[in-house]
């Protein structure tokens, strides 16, 4: 790594406009077989995005896995050749970062196996489809003319997928890799609650009651909102692109994106990951931006350009998007959706979240199982019904960068008839 860093720093000194993003480290995936055994996969690699910005401010990028100074140089030359036709960017904001301290954390197959085994032992009754522990020990470096910024991301994630009658349900937890292993109790409790909800079919809801979406269900709505507020998506939606300062949601909705404790201080373009308020009491304040999307909309950057491993490109992404708590009105009778069946996609159309969820109709202390129900929730129309947000936000294993709390929505949804049967539950 130090040889590559040296090479990158030398290139930046010699070639005005050159800069580099480098991710180096280990990714361990341990997939446990509940019937015994398991398989671990350790990937050690260095991914580099070489960038070249012309004197006019146009940027070209090239991405690859590199091991040598020569490969790094070749990558930068590709970036330079693309820069003349690249997007025109505003000057980056300078940031400062303290030097790294101490050695990097180590991934550990034994620790991962222990965590997976503890989870399986606590859930003997469940048919587990997958138990996955993912450990990341990555060092991120941004090398640019203003200096070298480095930080570490060292996390452990536990993800479990279990079979319920109508389909699979998912639970998970995330924490720092250096701390004691993740406690499995919360994951076990969450999974049991979902499985209990779906163990038998319930009846249809009896009335258009207020709706309470618990975190496994609300995460999909928040995921849809994160997608909508991405600068790349908002570009094609005039209402959002020009919506800053406008009231789009009720005053109960304040949406923030905060780095988790020990998380990122700068994004993969070297911009500060300062706390970001996207919606303040219903008023749109900002979008999730990488530098190119901010430039395209002539908006200030928001330091949310992160490398997407599948796209192999930097795209606007949230770090830890959540809604701030807003006390809901007391509810005596409501429909509470607590379990979500995994579907192949949750956004069947842009801005429309489609779900299969089960839950309970609650009348005071009486709870009657309902569903599984199909829901089609247009994100904007649904969140306009927001009457409260609980302070129980949880990491969502299915929606990257989302911390989902319980959402309280007013009644008034409908189930438009589709032929002889009622269709999915939807607002708007």
């Amino acid at each position: 790594m130090s040889a590559l860093l040296d090479a990158a720093q030398a290139r930046v000194r010699e070639s005005p406009g050159a800069s580099f993003w480098i991710r180096e480290g280990d990714t361990l995936s341990y997939e446990h077989e509940p019937s015994g055994g398991g398989s671990s996969s350790l990937c050690r690699e260095t991914v580099v995005e070489a960038r070249h910005t012309t004197a006019e401010g146009r940027r070209g990028v090239a991405t690859g896995r590199v091991s040598t100074a020569e490969e790094l140089t070749r990558l930068w030359e590709q970036a330079r050749s693309r820069s003349a036709a690249g997007p025109l960017l505003a000057s980056p904001r300078a940031i400062s970062s303290p030097p790294l301290e101490g050695p990097a954390a180590q991934v550990s197959p034994d620790r991962a196996r222990g965590l997976a085994q503890a989870l399986c032992a606590a859930l003997p009754e469940a048919v587990l489809q997958a138990v996955l522990v993912r450990q990341l020990a990555h060092t991120f470096s941004v090398v640019e003319a203003q200096g070298l910024h480095q930080e570490r991301v060292e996390t452990e994630e536990l993800l479990v997928r279990a079979e319920a009658r109508p389909g699979a349900v998912v639970e998970g937890a995330r924490g720092p890799l250096r701390a004691v292993p993740l406690p499995v109790a919360g994951v076990v409790e969450g999974l049991r609650a979902q499985l209990e909800t779906l163990v038998a079919p319930g009846r249809a809801p009896t009335a258009e009651l207020p709706l309470v979406l618990r975190p496994p269900v609300s995460a999909a709505v928040l995921g849809g909102l994160a997608w909508m507020l991405g600068g790349d998506v908002a570009r094609s939606s005039p209402a959002l692109a020009a919506g800053a300062g406008k009231r789009l949601f009720p005053s109960t909705l304040t949406l923030v994106d905060l780095a988790p404790a020990g998380g990122r201080r700068f994004d993969d373009e070297g911009q500060s990951c300062a706390p970001l308020t996207l919606v303040e009491a219903g008023v749109l304040r900002a979008l999730l931006h990488s530098r190119p999307t901010a430039a395209a909309l002539s908006q200030p950057g928001s330091g949310r350009g992160f490398f997407h491993p599948e796209l192999e490109a930097v795209v606007p992404s949230p770090l830890n998007l959540t809604l701030l708590p807003a006390a809901p009105p007391p509810l005596d009778r409501y429909l509470e959706l607590t379990a979500r069946v995994e579907t192949f996609t949750t956004q069947t159309q842009p801005g429309l979240v489609s779900l299969i969820a089960g839950g309970w109709e609650v009348w005071g202390t009486q709870r009657t199982r309902v569903g599984p129900l199909e829901l089609e929730l247009p994100v904007s129309a649904t969140l306009r019904q927001l009457i409260g947000v609980a302070d129980d936000a949880r990491w969502s294993p299915s929606f990257e960068g989302v911390l989902a709390p319980s959402l309280f929505l007013a009644g008034g949804w409908r189930r438009p008839s589709r032929g002889a049967v009622p269709g999915p539950l939807r607002y708007g």
């Binding site: 398989s39 690859g64 896995r65 091991s67 319920a164 109508p166 699979a168 579907t343």
Partner: protein, 423 residues
């Protein structure tokens, strides 16, 4: 079991021409090596990229070292250049719009993968290539139709422009066939078109439930029914990576096991699961060549490659006869699948009414739902006209994806399936 390795050098280029005439390129290049060792029931894999991988390859034992190094260092054959792709896509877009579509989008994906793998004493190696072309054309009201086809090599694609144009015409004929009717509702006779995206039905309903890891945890409605009859004798479903043509093809899987066809259901009976080495060992069987990896960075899993329904003796043209009111399904997308119960739902993206034994107008989107056992039981005939389909979408089993898969099927008739209007 002896240590094994997997080395690959891969480039996948994808070109898109959107409806506004904007042409874009994305490209993924991978070069790396994974080494797998077993300790009891624990399998561990360590992978590295680029130069580090070449250095690791040199440390492999026996003939594997030379084979892996060559795989990593030999340049890949030429891939489809942007200029040729833009010309091809532009021509198709122009023909689509001239043919009556309001807009037309084209995706061209060309992939090349040089792979070597297996036991270090007995490595296998070869080159895999594919070219996928997707067309979507639409009308101003949002209605659109999608078609997709694949070639085993770039040369075959460039040498056969008439075939592409014929598919485009087929797409335009469907798109311009008149306004869509509401999707019908109820338990209706259903016919699935040959080689259409309806093939994903058997991938979900028969394929995943019979993968080795699913069997190990008794995790599906078919996993406890090996040897049982679940459909009529006219239904045989298999997975065969050796068929070629438009199908996903390989001579050996990603653990070096020779590929072979596997019958999932044979003459209506549940026959054999899809296995990699690990699940084969646990089940006391031999691997049947279905270990597949998304890349050198992922561990292998038992997966499908080309899942097909065997053609039957009935002339396909006769399968609509006698249906007074039904649905002819041309494109399905999976919505959800409950492996344990076999409950499924699919979005019906493209379909036509069947009226008095004839194809009628197209219908608006719908939903197909049911359970695997019921659906297999009411499949009453397979036509004599099998065709294949491969798209860029891929399979994402347990978040290991996208992995190229393909489907093959003849025209199929179900006595009845539950259909309802969709979103």
């Amino acid at each position: 079991m002896s240590p094994s390795f997997f080395a690959e050098s891969r480039r996948v280029v994808e070109y898109r021409l959107n409806r506004r005439g904007e042409f874009s390129t994305s490209s993924q290049g991978l070069r790396g090596l994974a080494r797998t060792e077993q300790d009891g029931l624990q399998w561990g894999q360590q992978s590295s990229a680029e130069r580090d991988a070449v250095a690791e390859a040199a440390r492999l034992a026996g003939p594997a070292a030379a084979v892996a190094q060559a795989t990593l260092e030999e340049p890949l054959p030429p891939w489809l250049e942007a200029e040729a792709a833009e010309r091809l896509a532009g021509d198709l877009q122009q023909r689509g719009v001239a043919g009556g579509a309001a807009w037309c989008e084209v995706v061209v994906q060309h992939g090349l993968q040089r792979a070597a793998c297996g036991a270090e004493a007995e490595p296998r190696h070869g080159l895999r290539e594919w070219l996928i072309l997707e067309l979507r054309a639409g009308l101003a009201d949002g209605d659109s139709v999608w078609r997709c086809f694949a070639y085993p090599s770039l040369r075959e694609a460039l040498d056969a422009p008439q075939r592409v144009q014929a598919r485009l015409q087929e797409l335009l004929d469907a798109l311009l066939s008149g306004p869509r009717q509401p999707c019908p509702q109820g338990w209706l006779p259903v016919v699935m078109a040959p080689g259409s995206a309806a093939g994903s039905f058997f991938h979900e309903v028969c394929g995943h439930p019979l993968e080795g890891d699913v069997l190990l945890r008794h995790g599906s409605y078919l996993s406890t029914r090996l040897g049982e009859k679940v459909a009529g004798a006219h239904l045989s479903v298999g997975d065969d990576p050796t068929r070629g043509g438009e199908a996903v093809e390989y001579a050996f899987d990603d653990e070096g096991t020779p590929a072979r066809p596997v019958w999932l259901l044979r003459e209506g009976r549940v026959e054999e699961p899809l296995l990699d080495r690990r699940t084969a060992q646990r089940l006391g069987r031999d691997s049947n060549g279905h270990a597949r990896r998304v890349s050198y960075r992922s561990a292998p899993l038992p997966r499908m490659a080309h899942t097909f329904v065997e053609a039957g003796p009935t002339p396909a043209g006769e399968l609509l006869a006698g249906i007074s009111h039904g649905l002819y399904i041309q494109h399905l997308l999976p919505r959800h699948m409950g492996l344990l119960s076999g409950e499924f739902s699919f979005s019906v993206v493209e379909a036509r009414l069947i009226e008095s034994g004839q194809l009628g107008p197209r219908v608006l989107p719908g939903v197909l739902r049911g359970t695997g056992l019921d659906a297999l039981r009411v499949l009453e005939a397979a036509g004599d006209d099998g065709r294949s389909l491969q798209s860029t979408r891929g399979c994402r089993k347990l978040d290991h994806g996208p992995l190229r898969v393909s489907f093959g099927q003849p025209t199929l008739r179900f006595e009845g399936l539950q259909i309802e209007p969709g979103p």
